[in-house]
């Protein structure tokens, strides 16, 4: 990682003015300015008048999907480790997976060979041939296995090619070795590695994805893996391509523990909770140990589980997510956050001054510097993840200027106030800083505080600010008030729809594509911000079933 000094500075100054001229640089959304007089970084889902549909395409399965697919396809006891440097495993928005270069191919071969051995161990179904006609068993295996691996029916040519692989593997060896060789071949093939979203038609205005493609897309969203048996049947029968069949499968899947766990994980990814494992604090922050970090993460996972699945789903509301004062603590966490916990496990406590996921101790600990709060980290997080505005990174000169501010100004608020007066900073920081300052009552570990010690003595916390950030306007007193305002914000709802739709698509939706999510947004707002309605609406999103003609 970069020098800690640079980290702080980099995060303290983002100084390319956030104006409409920047267009889509650095992930900025283009299009017209946000409502009112704000210079235009676009917004959570702007409409420039052009509505661009999504193209048919092919992409590589991500590392995580690929590993899960190998596990499920072969019924392995553990998920194989497969990581290629395509980005963090638990990232919400994957970067484009690396092509199958020499290093990736070697890794894939290792995974395939080890998995194939486990799948064909003595007594496993794949290695067993009842009746004794091994060639017939091999044919049956190929006809069952290869379509599931390739997520489509196979051709006779492909079947015969795999049977030839079997024949070579079987020669002088056992039936199991023959099958093992078939598995190795399938798992290294482009047909397994690449995800098709092409449909049947070669061209035309709109292309319907095949039932197999629809089932796979739905499965990758909700199961984080390839279709299970029931979903596969719905693809084979074509039911998945009908509205009723799709709804039935979505409802069935959302009732399963594995899908519920994955949906919880999707929220964890959105809030980037796995970053807790790489957080570092200064040596003076003695409370922060690896066990403490684990407890923080577990507490917030429990918080998400309770909201999404507790109380029969009644609490699965955006409002609860953003305003609940509940925090889950165990023996590690309780004393630090002014709560009591007895016994082993996590217990729910209501903590004063807490409002939702953004004030969970884990989030505040991640979005902080090693020794203090961080207005910029916290502000940028809310801006990016809940308002879909990605400010451009600071330039070298800005970093130097940020360093200067730190020398003379001893609180995060004082630095934010100064940035508001420097034109080169104010452009972006007029969006970032109000959001970040709201959380100033929370220190580097997310402990509540009423004053901040500085070289000049203690300074009382002032977390209030005059907002003009999208539809959050006027004086906001603190993070509790901010959370209520965000929970009511239309901009936040638009952004969350965009986020989850992008997640399901596996690619960040462009500004001119957000329009395709209009119905999803309708469902979400119509259901009063019900989060499970959001998940269902995204699963039904038309773009996961139909594409514009003409593949990229």
């Amino acid at each position: 990682m970069r020098a800690a000094v640079a980290l702080v500075v980099a995060a303290t100054t983002a100084a390319i003015a956030c104006t409409g001229e920047i267009g889509s640089q650095g992930g900025l959304v283009g299009g017209p300015a946000a409502p009112g007089d704000i210079p235009g970084p676009g917004g959570p889902g702007t409409s420039s008048g052009v509505c661009k549909g999504l193209s048919a395409r092919v992409s590589r399965l991500t590392d995580r999907q690929l590993a899960n697919a190998v596990r499920d396809l072969l019924g392995l006891s553990k998920t194989p480790a497969f990581e290629t440097g395509s980005g963090g495993k638990e990232e919400f928005m994957p970067v484009r997976p690396a092509a199958v270069s020499g290093g990736v191919a070697l890794k894939l071969r290792d995974v395939a060979e080890v998995a194939a051995v486990e799948a064909t161990a003595a007594g496993k179904p794949a290695a067993t041939c009842a009746g004794g006609d091994e060639r017939a068993c091999a044919k049956t295996f190929v006809e069952r296995f290869a379509p599931r691996a390739f997520r489509r029916p196979i051709t006779v040519e492909e079947r015969d090619a795999l049977l030839s692989v079997y024949d070579v593997g079987r020669q002088g060896e056992t039936h199991a070795v023959g099958i093992r060789t078939v598995i190795e071949a399938a798992l290294q093939s482009p047909s397994f590695i690449y995800l098709r979203e092409l449909g049947d038609a070669a061209d035309g205005d709109a292309v319907a994805l095949t039932p197999y493609e629809i089932a796979t897309k739905l499965s990758l969203f909700l199961r984080d893996s390839i279709p299970d048996d029931a979903l596969w049947s719905a693809a084979e029968s074509g039911k998945i391509a009908t509205p009723e069949g799709l709804d039935a499968e979505i409802d069935r899947l959302l009732g399963t523990p594995e899908v519920r766990a994955n949906v919880t994980s999707i929220f964890e990814r959105l809030f980037q909770l796995d970053r807790i494992s790489t957080v570092a604090k200064d040596a003076s922050v003695k409370e922060f140990t690896p066990a403490f970090a684990d407890s923080l993460r577990a507490g917030t996972r429990k918080f998400l589980e309770e909201i999404l699945w507790g109380n029969g789903g009644q609490d699965a509301k955006l409002k609860t997510l953003l305003t609940s004062s509940k925090v889950f603590v165990d023996k590690n966490l309780a004393p630090v956050y002014g709560a009591t916990a007895s016994g082993d496990g996590l217990v729910a406590v209501d903590l004063p001054n807490r409002a939702g996921i953004l004030t969970q101790p884990s989030m505040l600990t991640i979005e902080a510097t090693p020794s203090d709060s961080s207005v910029v980290h916290r502000g940028v997080f809310v801006l990016r993840e809940l308002l879909c505005f990605h400010p451009p990174p600071p330039q070298a000169d800005d970093l130097a200027q940020g360093d200067e501010l730190k020398k003379n100004l001893h609180t995060e608020r004082a630095r934010a106030e100064k940035r508001a007066t420097i034109p080169r900073c104010a452009g972006c920081h007029s969006f970032i800083d109000p959001l970040g300052v709201s959380f100033e009552h929370f220190d580097t570990l997310g402990r509540y505080r009423t004053e901040i010690s500085t070289p000049d003595g203690p300074v009382p916390v002032d977390a209030s600010w005059d907002f003009s950030v999208y539809d959050v306007k006027g004086r906001v007193a603190n993070s509790t008030e901010l959370a209520s305002r965000l929970a009511e914000s239309d901009a936040v709802k638009t952004c969350l729809v965009r986020q989850f739709a992008s997640y399901a698509l596996g690619e960040r939706l462009g500004d001119d594509q957000v329009c395709t999510t209009a119905k999803v947004k309708e469902s979400f707002t119509g259901a009063e911000g019900d989060l499970l309605s959001l998940i269902k609406a995204v699963a039904r999103w038309e773009a996961l079933r139909t594409r514009d003609g003409g593949a990229r």
Partner: protein, 447 residues
């Protein structure tokens, strides 16, 4: 476990993973039996977050951090005055830039996610050697990448988590789990050595692997027509990878007698993670495995990372719960103790190499060149000057005048020049670095 007893199934896993190369291994084992010199090897060992200069070399002599190397001092040359010069012209900077530059000699590429998460623009130099050196290539395991602690401070930046790159921006992450390395190694050790049955098994395994690649290539050709044109580049990359794997299957085989070799004794079972005491156990297991792999001549190129660049490893008893964070605080006493700890544990491994009999006679270390590196010089300043490097080895790799500190300060020497200096040991040359280089270091190797 000592004295390997593996069933036929175990062998077949290995055969699937490297059969034809195994044949080469057998051939060279025969050659050795006829009196040719033993295999030469290269090991790079990385420990993170810089050193404390005055405790490294003090008054021109071994300082307290180097003291643990006393038992192998007659195997060591400490290099002083070598700089690292990344392509962005800095003389100080990030952990990532340091590690990529030392290992690849290439220019820093575009960043992945953060402002110093640089992509490599070249293969790492250990991989260039593994591919081009006639003395290093052709082993059942082309090269091994191992590590004992994988968590870095404040991010998950790729250049800190790997030493080796197969090609540009193609990291080969270290395996952190010794039990997986054990399976890989054990599977390649063939009970009974070469005999007609085993020879036939090797031939069959090779045929199987060829058949797998034939299918994959066929599938690639079939999808080409179905996939959009934008996928062509990716499919070309995979096709090149298939070609490379095919070449790895090798040509003719010449089975013969193989000297006995055994799997390592029982591992501790420790899993990577936790504090420095657990990391020591993981590393000790990896070291056993490296020794076993060398004794069986399964591989000749190893890179080992004690911990990632900018490691957050906790050394509670030594005074830090986060090595990287403490390095910024410049707590010199604590940092000195930590780097001394790395010296102690690395020295124990060097001693293992010095005491273990080599397949062709002598000891492993006689024929093994070990380069002990760090991604920065001092942690608090991120200096890129005067890196704390040590070379270990013996006459077999031509390391001259051991037991000294070779000071090349003022000669403009960089990490690239170290690679240039020892490449001839492996009967090849390295050059064409995109970053600063000034030629071999005089008087270091007798080649």
């Amino acid at each position: 476990m000592s004295g390997l007893r593996l069933g036929r199934r175990s062998f077949m896993l290995g055969a699937a993973g490297g059969s034809a190369l195994l044949a080469y291994w057998m051939r060279s084992a025969v050659a050795r039996a006829e009196g040719e010199p033993g295999p030469k090897r290269l090991v790079i060992i990385h420990r993170p977050n810089g050193t404390i200069a005055e405790d490294w070399v003090r008054g021109g002599a071994r300082g307290p951090i180097l003291e643990p190397f006393a038992p192998v001092w007659d195997r060591a040359v400490v290099l002083k005055g070598i700089d690292v010069r990344p392509s962005n012209g800095t003389t100080g900077g990030s952990h990532e830039a340091g590690l990529v530059t030392i290992m690849t000699g290439g220019a820093l590429g575009a960043t992945y996610r953060t402002n110093d998460d640089f992509r490599s623009t070249a293969p790492s130099l250990d991989q260039r050697l593994a591919k081009q050196s006639p003395l290093l290539k052709g082993r059942p395991i082309e090269s091994l990448q191992l590590g004992s602690h994988g968590a870095q401070d404040g991010g998950n930046e790729i250049p800190n988590t790997t030493l080796s790159y197969r090609g540009a921006a193609d990291p080969m992450y270290p395996e952190l789990d010794p039990s997986k390395v054990l399976s890989r190694i054990s599977a390649l050790i063939m009970p009974g050595g070469a005999n007609p049955n085993n020879d036939a098994a090797i031939a069959r395994a090779r045929a199987r692997r060829k058949s797998v690649l034939d299918f994959v290539r066929g599938d690639l050709n079939r999808v080409r027509s179905a996939f959009p044109a934008s996928m062509k580049a990716d499919l070309d990359v995979q096709e090149a990878a298939i070609r490379e794997l095919e070449q790895g299957l090798g040509g003719g085989m010449m089975p013969g007698a193989v000297s006995a070799c055994t799997a390592p004794s029982a591992l501790s079972g420790a899993k990577a993670g936790g504090n420095y005491q657990n990391t020591e156990k993981v590393a000790a297991d990896h070291f056993k495995l490296i020794v076993a792999a060398f004794v069986c001549d399964l591989t000749r190129v190893v890179t080992f990372q004690w911990a990632t660049g900018a490691s957050l490893l906790a050394f509670g008893d030594l005074g830090t719960n986060n090595h990287h964070s403490t390095s910024h605080a410049n707590q010199r006493g604590v940092l000195s103790s930590v780097d001394r700890w790395y010296s102690e544990k690395t020295s124990a491994f060097i001693q293992q190499l010095a005491n273990t009999a080599d397949v062709g006679g002598g000891k492993l270390l006689d024929n093994t060149l070990v380069w002990y590196i760090n991604e920065i010089s001092e942690g608090w300043s991120h200096s890129f000057n005067d890196f704390p490097f040590v070379l270990f080895g013996g006459d077999g790799v031509g390391l001259k005048d051991r037991g000294r500190i070779l000071n090349v300060s003022g000669q403009g020497k960089t990490s690239n020049d170290v690679w240039t200096s020892f490449a001839p040991v492996f009967q090849t040359t390295l050059g064409g670095y995109a970053t600063k280089a000034s030629g071999p270091i005089a008087g270091l190797f007798a080649v």
